[in-house]
Symmetry: C2
Subunit: 209 residues, 2 copies
DNA sequence: ACCTGAACACCGTTCAAGT
DNA sequence: ACCTGAACACCGTTCAAGT
């Protein structure tokens, strides 16, 4: 799948009348319903349009292509996670290194496992579409957030704070994703809950000067 | 995309005559060529068959569906990486914890960045297909390998060696994948080269009893 | 301003017919 | 034993015609 022009991933036109706003929302809901009921593999434009009670032509008036439907869902999920991490960041600002590392690991795991149904759906989408653009943006934001947190820790200084924040973001995001995609059993998630905070703290402590 | 029956991912029939063995190899090569020249999004069964110089019908005699073509490529790449890690494992057996952690991190990074072209192609496939089955298998094998290595380290014992090996595999695999998918610039790969060994060693040292 | 749905181009897969 | 390629079912997307 080729990378779509990001500008094309939002609805094409803003609703001018109440009628079309309702149409957009109906299409959104229909996409989620078809996704959860039939899976990504069975999600077709016809099926979504039918479920939404509109014609395919109408759907294409608001969403330029099938990808736009699915990216909408992904973006919303990423927004939820971002919100959760901002909350954690506020709580952890100024905390010592151990509290910070363990707090971030716990918050990340909570956010990723909170809505397991949605997460499953998202990974399904990720399996069929190129999500490097939205994922890249999310990673960058996380890195900046971590960098500010590291700067606020009273008991730590770093030779290269940017690199440490970058590594922490990659470690957190990558490790959890790997487990959730490869084999997300309860036993493995429990292992993560024990080992991930430990790994984060150990790394930050080792990087400190 | 629905998860395909793993039994169907290998070629359908074994070649009985030299002619058909040549056909299979021609199809394999054509798949790689189309993949590198046109990308996953433009890879169609017709195009591969044309490039291989056979009809679509012939192709379907050996590969039950389009996915089988691509899974073949992925499996080969995974095999190469596995081989590289086995080599590293042999070298590192009995080494102390620091040597072991840093050696594994370096070997993993080397394997993943060695053939950057193939890796790119693989991530392209990963973006369009559900690779949880082969990835899960690869993760399991890596965990077992790491567990044996940890047992051989003369300067370390662990309360739960299985969990530590599991976490190390997820950390290594996940962190590198995240960076390579989100933003694999030279600067970021260099950061990984510095921070990843450090993170691995710090985690193992912290997990030691 | 918004909606319809037949029509178009293309794709993955099959199978009767060939050598 | 192996190969062919027209045919089939289905998909994403468009656009002339409607209200």
């Amino acid at each position: 799948m080729n990378r779509p022009d990001p500008a094309l991933l939002q609805p094409r036109k803003s609703p001018q009348q109440a009628r079309s706003a309702a149409t957009i929302e109906a299409i959104r809901q229909a996409t989620i319903q078809v996704l959860l009921a039939d899976g990504v593999g069975r999600l077709t434009t016809t099926r979504v349009a039918e479920r939404a009670g509109v014609s395919v032509g109408t759907m294409y008036q608001y969403y330029p292509h099938k990808q736009a439907l699915l990216f909408g869902i992904v973006e919303k999920q990423l927004l939820l996670i971002e919100e959760a991490m901002r909350g954690a960041s506020d709580r952890l600002m100024g905390a010592d290194l151990k509290t910070l590392a363990e707090g971030l690991a716990a918050a990340w795991l909570d956010a990723k496992t909170a809505d397991i149904v949605s997460s499953r759906a998202i990974y399904g989408i990720a399996a069929e579409f190129d999500l490097s653009a939205p994922m890249g943006r999310a990673a960058k934001m996380m890195t900046e957030m971590f960098e500010a947190l590291l700067a606020s820790a009273p008991d730590a200084r770093f030779a290269d704070r940017g690199s440490v924040a970058f590594m922490l973001a990659a470690l957190l995001g990558g490790t959890v994703r790997m487990v959730m995609e490869a084999d997300p059993t309860d036993a493995n998630l429990e292992r993560l809950r024990v080992e991930l905070p430990r790994a984060c703290h150990a790394y930050l402590a080792a990087a400190r000067i």
